[in-house]
Symmetry: C2
Subunit: 471 residues, 2 copies
Amino acid sequence: MLNPCDPAFAAHLATMVPQDVLSAPEARYLEDPRGRWHGEAGAVARPRSVTEVAVIVRACAAARVGIVPWGGGTGLVGGQLMPSGPAPVVLSLERMAALRGAYPDENALVVEAGMILSDVQAEAAKLGRMFPLSLASQGTCRIGGNLASNAGGLNVLRYGNARDLCLGLEAVLPDGTIWNGLTRLRKDNAGYDLRHLMIGSEGTLGVITAASLRLYPVPAASVVAMLAVPGPEAALRLLTLASARLPGMISAFELIGRMGFDFLAEVMPDLQAPFGPVPEWMVLVELGLPASLAPEATMAALYDEASDAGLVTDGVIATSDAQATALWHLREAIPEANRRIGAVSSHDISLPLSAVPEFIAKAPAALAKLGAWRINCFGHLGDGNLHYNVFPAQGRSRSDHENTRDAVKACVHDMVHAMGGSVAAEHGVGRLKTADLAKYGDPGKLAAMRAIKAALDPHGIMNPGAVLTAS
Amino acid sequence: MLNPCDPAFAAHLATMVPQDVLSAPEARYLEDPRGRWHGEAGAVARPRSVTEVAVIVRACAAARVGIVPWGGGTGLVGGQLMPSGPAPVVLSLERMAALRGAYPDENALVVEAGMILSDVQAEAAKLGRMFPLSLASQGTCRIGGNLASNAGGLNVLRYGNARDLCLGLEAVLPDGTIWNGLTRLRKDNAGYDLRHLMIGSEGTLGVITAASLRLYPVPAASVVAMLAVPGPEAALRLLTLASARLPGMISAFELIGRMGFDFLAEVMPDLQAPFGPVPEWMVLVELGLPASLAPEATMAALYDEASDAGLVTDGVIATSDAQATALWHLREAIPEANRRIGAVSSHDISLPLSAVPEFIAKAPAALAKLGAWRINCFGHLGDGNLHYNVFPAQGRSRSDHENTRDAVKACVHDMVHAMGGSVAAEHGVGRLKTADLAKYGDPGKLAAMRAIKAALDPHGIMNPGAVLTAS
């Protein structure tokens, strides 16, 4: 059993670190972006060094006090908030935001965990390189949180998930040991890959304090198009075609359904689709190209070939940076429109690529048995990752469906699971999906996870209740 | 303590599986390619299904009998051979070599662990795709072993190590539980990444029985060149230049030193360098290009730009497949020439890319204090992975240096470690480098590894003595 971070423990901990490291928890550490969770905490710790992190973790381990690691607070599944149980220490990495080293010739950057993602991108840009991780909250989220949750985002198709962009880690393990794995090696088979175990464990196996990151050359040119497609099946065939013609050059391939534009028309009417009438399905495609390929001509050639194959029916190719930005802005505004309309249930799911069209075709009929819905299905098609969000019918609100929400979620998740997919694709498990993990997870994997958790964190102090529920 | 697989246990085990699964160990299961190890075994098990594997593992766990998983037997670090201790069961996956599924539209293939790597490549080719893992032993090694050891090889720069080519795994855990993680998802954050923990653990945490693999489109054209460079520093700058000009299109970037050609001249005189006189340093570059880029012209443009920058001094661009094959054959013959000459000590090391030139510059002087050597330094420069092999001076043999071998190895490994590198880059730890891992490994990581091993394999039956020595 854990003990709370009560005033006595907070006072004890305060003697071990510089005076201003510990403070009472401000509201911002106890809220999440969607306003669905409210966390508890006995204190917030804001250390300035890995040594201070280690001191705090060791003291918490000795006293059996829980720790909730805190990055930018942007997680959508409650991984950064502990709503009940003995009040933990919130451990914010915000003061550990330094650049530790820049290695342009290696395409590598070493940063502390608290660096904001857009600052990581900016540091890479200073070197004439890019750090490809890109997601909606990049101005607020911090790289340690991105790694702890193995963030996805817009460029996974080409550059991989957060884990694929990490060469090495420094972390404090649950007993307060500092693991220095901050290497910059492209090949290293010296023992188990702790890095990949830590990445995606959502703070339950330790606190990431710094990371070596993989940078990429900036493509000489890029070109963006929004293409109307006959449907998801054609969109996937278009992706196969584009991948064969331009291997490794497709930076993004985003599916957008007409409902996304209906929502924009409803709540953000300044934003209009570049088509009239709006087609049922569209893809936003970005190519990042070498200097030897002319961007607009390359996209136009792809369009022509796809058109001949019946895979696109209409399209807009941006001919300026402003147009490209405007097309992206449409895609990026959809989550905000969703928020304003208010989903009954949102789902961050992934499927084997070839199962995506079948899922999109079948899910509405299954959901219709539970009520009348508007479905906004969009997402990172190249990764098989859909944000499949279910909204009330026009004129109704999410509060009308409080009693149906769980059934809607179960309907979607059951279908995804039956088709070989995952119900926690890029946002993680956090505390929102612990029951889903227990329900859908492979029993052998769950047992192994529990054994690893117990081995590395025998007192269960690291992010209690996240990912794995108390067994 | 483990028990041996004695005749009584072998007879007991034989009752649980079909009659021909268990047999006495033939010599081929007890030898390694370099003839440095000799293994012991009480029996060889050759199961046909994951269920049979599970039965065997469960029985061994109950009886505390060790298991040595066995793929193609090509490992270079003794991971597949147990030279001493209670005789284990050698568990060969050779009969589990089936294709479980082909998904060209997903760029995915599901195969059993015993499929030979070149057969995996052939299955991909049947789909018009490629499986990029490529290494010298590909006609013999098996994909399960490649994954267990996180194999590297020639195409890591572009496509990643074996772990990067794996979407999912099926494995039998040390208690006999079957973990079904054979998903084909590009994004899945549902819990800890057991896949990456299992990959590279060299059979010490379980037996991989099947894998979902990531395929890639075949480049429309490829072009190979051997370029003379002023030195390793220039070679790295050439790589940076090429990566910026042709991002994601450099399939291989191999460093070759003149000593490699001296050795070929000595023991395989039919193979001659395409230069006269042979330069001190060369790189073998392969580009894999889209149809829109003309291969020879693209390589020639790169050559010209590199030449203007002083990064190349001479070069041969293959103008036919036969010439390309011949250039590759030179590179691929070097390990065989090394074997014929007989190294005092071979080192599979990796370094941060920017440290490579300094290491290559400094190591000979350090080694000279121990004797007179010929050094053949070659390898996967784009990955910072060198095969740094130390040979006797001309006219002497490796047996003249038996007493110096450990000092040579320690000299190289100490330098690598001091420069932030790894002494187990792509071949793994096996049983050859357990002492190195204990010496150079981060103590926090080692403790975490031991805790994980004890949690998943409390009786220590899985590949005893590999990676981690008994603590």
